[in-house]
């Protein structure tokens, strides 16, 4: 399709083009100058905002410098005594509760896994209604958007507290809390991927007489699925971290134990648990990265 402006440009192509070059160049310079002014303004606003926020939040350089040695001392205190001669014995003393901790870490990963699965299902159910190009009408659209917004805005820890109150201590509260938050976040991300599918791209399905659900199934889902999978795996990694904190309020996983040893100043255990947690998170990251590449690569080859 050729727009009228393009047409008038081609019809004047016979005339000397010096005018056109000068005109476009002048306009371009104007736009660039405007853009530069805009970025400068933005930079100033950002700098002021950071300073004001830092002041209000009592973030001070002095405090930071004063606190550093204390932080260092705390870290040092948590360090285990390991020597080369008695490495095995030292190690087993440091990791004295290894079995329990690993069990708790497995719980943590499982909480994240179940929560991610439930959250993805919820997000998938709502994301099409929350996309402005696919929603049946604006009432459904706004209802879906607001629902996802609320789910995403309430922090997982707050959900976890509520659910511990309702369902008692344990993993169930953690799973529900993370699932709801995940649904809010992924529902929003999914709907944004949906919105990148243009109407023109869907016309082949619409013009054949397909109904809304069919247009989504045949025109949208095949296009957005790799993006959905990628975000889901990323979210799983994030949820493993969330699941390790959620125990702070009694919602299951390694967090409960970590909270306990921190509060009781059992220094060696703090470093042992953190080390195991870091290894777990790294393993999950590597696994999900590998999966992501396999699935998305496979999707392209299919």
């Amino acid at each position: 399709m050729m727009l009228p402006s393009v047409r008038s440009m081609t019809s004047s192509a016979a005339q000397p083009s010096g005018d056109a070059v000068a005109m476009v160049e002048a306009r371009r310079a104007e736009l660039r100058a405007a853009k530069r002014r805009q970025s400068l303004l933005l930079l100033v606003v950002l700098a002021v905002a950071v300073l004001v926020a830092g002041h209000l939040g009592e973030v001070s350089w002095q405090k930071f410098v004063d606190g550093l040695p204390r932080f260092g001392r705390y870290i040092m205190r948590t360090m285990p005594q390991l020597s080369l001669e008695s490495f095995g014995a030292d190690m087993s003393r440091w990791m004295w509760n290894f079995r329990v901790w690993v069990g708790l870490l497995v719980d943590t990963v499982l909480i994240a896994f179940v929560a991610t699965t439930l959250g993805v299902a919820g997000a998938f159910a709502l994301c099409f209604a929350a996309s402005d190009n696919l929603a049946p009408n604006s009432i459904v659209y706004h209802a879906a958007r607001r629902t996802l917004e609320v789910l995403r805005t309430v922090p997982e820890l707050v959900f976890a507290l509520l659910f511990v109150f309702a369902f008692g201590l344990g993993a169930m509260a953690g799973v529900l809390a993370i699932a709801l938050h995940t649904m809010g976040v992924l529902g929003k991300l999914f709907s944004e991927i949906n919105e990148t599918v243009s109407d023109r791209a869907l016309e082949g399905v619409v013009a054949a007489g397909a109904a809304r659900g069919q247009v989504i199934r045949y025109g949208v889902v095949p296009r957005v699925l790799p993006g959905f999978i990628s975000y889901t795996l990323l979210r799983f990694e994030i949820n493993v971290r969330s699941a390790s904190v959620i125990g702070f309020v009694g919602a299951g996983g390694i967090g409960q134990e970590l909270m306990f040893v921190i509060n009781q100043f059992i220094y060696r255990d703090i470093s042992a648990i953190l080390l195991l947690l870091i290894i777990t998170v790294a393993l999950v990251d590597i696994l999900s990265e590998w999966l992501r590449h396999r699935i998305i690569g496979g999707e392209l080859q299919r």
Binding site: E203, G204, A207, A208, A210, Y218, E299
Partner: protein
């Protein structure tokens, strides 16, 4: 019989189509020619109801198409099969699945969610592909095909819609000469064998002369020529293409 009366479409201040009236009988192969921006695509998109008219009426076999809503509208779209310049296939689906999109309006919705169709539907789709010499590519992904092949898949999709009318919007504008011959030949064959009326936007007058029985000329949204292909002389061409 397709009857169009006073069909008009405005986009803001632009009048893309200006009170066009015409009738198309079964079996006709009508070429629509005109400069870029004349309103050719708008005409076809109005007929399929991808675009809503600002004024005027479309009537098919006595039924008012412009008044259709919901299920009736979707069934009309199925009957007025559309073929696009850029093919409008779903790249990520297989060729067969893309053709089966043409069966969606004829299949209960609950069945379609899993991408599974009845064996009869699949057979129909494969036969349509075979008619276009594309059956051997049925299980490839749509984006693995060349442009000419993709357009033939789009024609197969149109065929399984069990259409009453074929609307082709510059179906060969992005194709090389050999693919052009294959695609136009396929449209011509379907027109002759099935007696389906074809309304085809074309960029090249030579193509219009080779394949069409009747020519419609559009200029700035208005119908300025309508006659048998033999009547398309230099004067007529000038009246269509001159500013």
């Amino acid at each position: 019989m397709l009857e169009i009366e006073g069909l008009t479409r405005k986009f803001g201040d632009t009048i893309a189509l200006d009170a066009v009236s015409l009738r198309i009988a079964p079996g006709e192969f009508v070429g629509v020619i005109g400069r870029s921006g004349a309103g050719k695509s708008t005409l076809l998109r109005l007929i399929n109801r991808l675009v809503e008219p600002s004024a005027g009426r479309i009537v098919f076999d006595g039924a008012d198409v412009t008044a259709k809503r919901g299920g009736a509208l979707r069934d009309w779209r199925r009957q007025a099969a559309m073929i696009f310049q850029q093919f409008a296939l779903v790249d990520q689906l297989s060729v067969l699945e893309n053709v089966l999109v043409g069966r969606l309006a004829l299949t209960p919705r609950w069945r379609t969610w899993t991408l599974q169709f009845k064996a009869e539907d699949r057979a129909l789709a494969i036969e349509a592909l075979d008619r276009l010499d594309m059956a051997q590519h049925a299980l490839k992904r749509a984006d693995e095909l060349s442009g000419g092949q993709q357009q033939r898949v789009a024609i197969a999709r149109a065929l399984v819609q069990e259409p009453r009318l074929i609307l082709a919007d510059e179906p060969v504008a992005s194709l090389d000469p050999r693919s052009t011959a294959a695609v136009m030949g396929a449209l011509k064959r379907i027109n002759a064998e099935d007696g389906l009326p074809v309304l085809c936007n074309l960029h090249h007058i030579d193509l219009a002369r080779d394949y069409c029985t009747r020519i419609i000329g559009v200029r700035r949204g208005q119908l300025v020529f309508d006659g048998p292909v033999e009547a398309l002389d230099d004067a007529a061409i000038r009246s269509i293409y001159d500013q």
